[in-house]
Amino acid sequence: MPLIRRTWTPAAADEWAREDWIAIVLSPLAYIALAVGVVLSFLLLKIGFIILGVAIVLTVLMHWVIDPKLKTVSQDYEKKQKSYLEALEKIIRWEEMK
C-alpha cells in the first residue's frame, strides 16, 4: 500500500484515514506560514519570502493528499443526498420524531 493513497473506493473514502490526518496537520501549518510569510514578504524581508514559499508548498501538498479522497466522498454522497433530504423534511414536520 502506498504511503499516500491516490485512488479511493467510496467505502474506503468514507472512513477516516491517514490522509485525513496528514491534511489536518498540514492545514494549520500552512495557515501559520501564510500569516507570517505574507506580512514579512510585504515588508520585503528575505525570511518572509522563504516562509511564504513554505506556505505555498504546504498548501499544494495538502491538496494533493486530500483531494482524491474528497472527490470520492463527494461523488458517493451525492447519490444518497436525495433520500437524506426527504428524511430531513420529515423531521421538521414532526413525522419522524420520537
Binding site: D20, A35, L43, I91, K98
Partner: protein, 534 residues
C-alpha cells in the same frame, strides 16, 4: 471631515447600484423555495461560498481591531486575529460532517445528533440565541459604520447605522441568500482590492518597506517585526501561555461545531456548497483570504506606527488603517475607498441578516409554529423575519455603547465553558443533549463567578484571560460530565442513523458496531475491501 470630489461620489453611487441590482437579478431564484432563500439551492461551486466567507468576516470594525492589536503588540498581534484558523481543521473534519448532515442550521444539526426532549430544548434555545446574536452583531457592525460616517461626514451615528443597513436589506429581502452570496462575491473583490491598495499606499507613505524596517530599528522597536515576540511564559500583556491558549482554542476547535461564533455563519456557507468537497474548499480558501488580509493590514499598521509612534489613546490608533486611506489616498480614490468600506459593511450585514432570518424561519416558524407551511409561505416568513431583525438591530445598535461591555462578556462566556462540549458533541457518541445543555447552564453561572463575582469579593484573584479560559473549561466539565453519565445515552436507532449519514470522527465504537451488526455498513465494507484487492 473628508471632502469628496464628483468622481468619489460616482464610485459610491455605481457601487450601490451594483449591489441593489443583485437583488433584482436573483429575485426569481431566491423566491423558489426555503432552500433557495437560505442556501441558494445547495448548488454553489466552492469559490462562491469561499468569497462569502471572506467578505462576511471582513467587517467595518475588523480593521480597527486588527490595527489596535498590531499597534500594541507589533506583528505578534496577528495571533489575536488568528482565531479564524479554526477553519484549518474544520475544513476537513467538522465541515465534512456538517455538510453530510444536510442540516440548514446548527440548531437543526443538534436535532439530528441528539433526540427527544433534550434535543428539542436545544433546538429552541440555539435558534432563539442565534436570532438575538444576529441582531446584536448587526447593531455592533452598524454602529461601527455610524462612527466611520461621523468621522467622514460629521453625520450623527444613527444615520450611518440606519441608511446603509437599510440599503443592504433591499437585496436580502428580495433575493435571500442568492442575493447575499452574489453580492459578497463582488464585495469581496472590491474590499480585497481596496485593502491591497491602501496597505501598499500606507507602506509607501511611511517611506517604503526598507524604510519602515530601518526606522523601527532606529527607534529601538525592532521587536515589532518579530511575529513571535512575547512578553514571557506567563508574564506581561502577551505571554506565551496566552498565545498557546489562542492556538488551542482556534485550531483544536476545528474538530467541533460552534467553538467559534463564526461557525454559525460558516455553517450556512458549508450547506450551500454543492458537494462535500466544495464545502471543504470554500471554508479553507475563504479563511486563507482572511489570513492574508490580516497580514496586509498588519504591514500598513506598522507603517502607521512609524509615522505616529506615540499615540496613547486606543480609539485613536485603532483608526490607523482608515487614516492611512482617508488621509493619504489621492482625490478620486477616496470614493473608491469609501465604496470598499461600504462593501465590507454590506457583506457582513447581509450575511448576518439572512442567517438570523434562517434560524427564525427554519427552526422556530417551520419546525414549531407551522410544520406544514408551503414553500411560498416560508419565503415570505423569511422576508418578514429579515425585516424584524433589521429593525431590532437598529435599537440594539443605538444602545451599544452602554451594553457592549456586558455583551462582550456574554460572548466570552459563550466560548470558554462550552468550547469542549462543542467538540465532544461531534467526536463522542456518549455525550448527550442533557450534558450539552448542562454545560451551557453551568458555564453561564460559573463564568460570572470566576470573571466578576469571586474576584470582586477577593475570594479569587483576577485571572488573566488564558487562565479564565482553562478554569472555566475545567469547572464546567465538573458539571456536564457527571450529568452525561447519570442520564441515558441517546437512542441507539437515532445514533445509528446519524452515524451512517454523517460518518463522524472520534469515539463512535458502539454505534459503529451496531451499524455493522444491522448490516448498514457491511455492503460498504465488502465493496471497499474488494476494491482494495483490485
Amino acid at each position: 471631515m473628508v471632502q469628496f470630489a464628483i468622481l468619489d461620489w460616482i464610485w459610491i453611487i455605481l457601487f450601490l447600484l451594483l449591489m441593489i441590482g443583485c437583488g433584482v437579478l436573483f429575485f426569481n431564484l431566491g423566491k423558489r423555495s426555503e432552500a433557495d432563500f437560505f442556501l441558494a439551492g445547495r448548488g454553489l461551486p466552492w469559490w462562491l461560498p469561499a468569497s462569502s466567507v471572506y467578505a462576511t468576516h471582513t467587517a467595518v470594525d475588523t480593521p480597527m481591531w486588527v490595527a489596535g492589536v498590531i499597534y500594541r503588540h507589533g506583528l505578534a498581534g496577528i495571533w489575536y486575529a488568528f482565531f479564524s484558523a479554526w477553519c484549518a481543521i474544520s475544513a476537513f473534519v467538522s465541515t465534512r460532517i456538517f455538510r453530510r448532515s444536510l442540516a440548514y442550521t446548527q440548531a437543526e444539526w443538534q436535532s439530528l445528533r441528539f433526540c427527544g426532549l433534550g434535543s428539542e430544548l436545544l433546538r429552541g434555545w440555539m435558534s432563539g440565541w442565534q436570532v438575538f446574536m444576529a441582531m446584536f452583531n448587526m447593531g455592533w457592525v452598524g454602529i461601527a459604520m455610524g462612527m466611520v460616517c461621523q468621522y467622514l461626514f460629521g453625520w450623527p451615528t444613527w444615520m450611518g447605522l440606519v441608511i446603509f443597513s437599510s440599503i443592504c436589506a433591499i437585496y436580502v429581502l428580495t433575493a435571500g441568500y442568492w442575493g447575499v452570496v452574489m453580492a459578497d462575491f463582488q464585495q469581496g473583490i472590491v474590499a480585497f482590492s481596496a485593502i491591497l491598495i491602501v496597505s501598499i499606499s500606507g507602506v509607501m507613505v511611511a517611506g517604503g518597506p526598507h524604510e519602515i524596517v530601518a526606522k523601527l530599528s532606529d527607534m529601538g522597536q525592532s521587536w515589532r517585526l518579530n511575529p513571535f515576540h512575547f512578553t514571557g511564559w506567563f508574564s506581561g500583556d502577551f505571554p506565551i501561555a496566552w498565545f498557546m491558549t489562542m492556538m488551542v482554542i482556534a485550531l483544536i476547535g476545528g474538530f467541533g461545531m460552534g467553538t467559534s461564533i463564526d461557525w454559525y455563519l460558516e455553517a450556512q456557507r458549508i450547506q450551500s456548497a454543492r458537494t462535500v468537497r466544495d464545502a471543504s474548499y470554500s471554508i479553507w480558501w475563504g479563511t486563507a483570504l482572511v489570513i492574508i488580509r490580516n497580514s496586509l493590514w498588519a504591514a500598513a499598521v506598522l507603517g502607521f506606527f512609524v509615522l505616529f509612534p506615540n499615540i496613547q489613546e486606543t480609539s485613536e490608533y485603532e483608526m490607523g488603517w482608515f487614516r492611512m486611506g482617508f488621509d493619504y489616498l489621492p482625490v478620486g480614490m477616496l470614493g473608491f475607498f469609501f465604496a470598499a468600506i461600504l462593501a465590507i459593511h454590506l457583506s457582513t450585514v447581509s450575511s448576518v441578516l439572512n442567517m438570523g432570518a434562517m434560524y427564525a424561519t427554519r427552526d422556530l416558524y417551520h419546525h414549531y409554529v407551522n410544520p406544514e407551511a408551503s414553500q411560498e409561505k416560508l419565503v415570505w416568513v423569511g422576508r418578514i423575519s429579515t425585516l424584524l431583525i433589521l429593525v431590532f438591530s437598529f435599537a440594539l445598535g443605538l444602545m451599544m455603547t452602554e451594553i457592549t461591555k456586558w455583551l462582550i462578556f456574554a460572548l466570552w462566556i459563550m466560548a470558554a465553558g462550552v468550547w469542549l462540549p462543542n467538540i465532544l458533541q461531534v467526536i463522542w457518541w456518549r455525550f448527550n443533549a442533557w450534558g450539552y445543555l448542562s454545560a451551557w447552564i453551568a458555564n453561564l453561572g460559573l463564568s460570572w463567578l470566576v470573571v466578576w463575582i469571586l474576584p470582586a469579593f477577593g475570594v479569587l484573584p483576577a485571572l488573566p484571560d488564558y487562565l479564565q479560559f482553562w478554569a472555566l473549561m475545567l469547572l464546567t466539565s465538573l458539571v456536564y460530565l457527571p450529568v452525561t453519565f447519570i442520564t441515558k445515552p441517546e437512542d441507539m436507532d437515532h445514533l445509528v442513523r446519524y452515524y451512517v449519514m454523517s460518518r463522524p470522527i472520534g469515539f463512535w465504537g458502539p454505534v459503529r458496531r451496531e451499524a455493522e451488526r444491522r448490516g448498514l455498513l457491511d455492503e460498504i465494507s465488502h465493496l471497499g475491501a474488494a476494491a482494495d484487492e483490485n
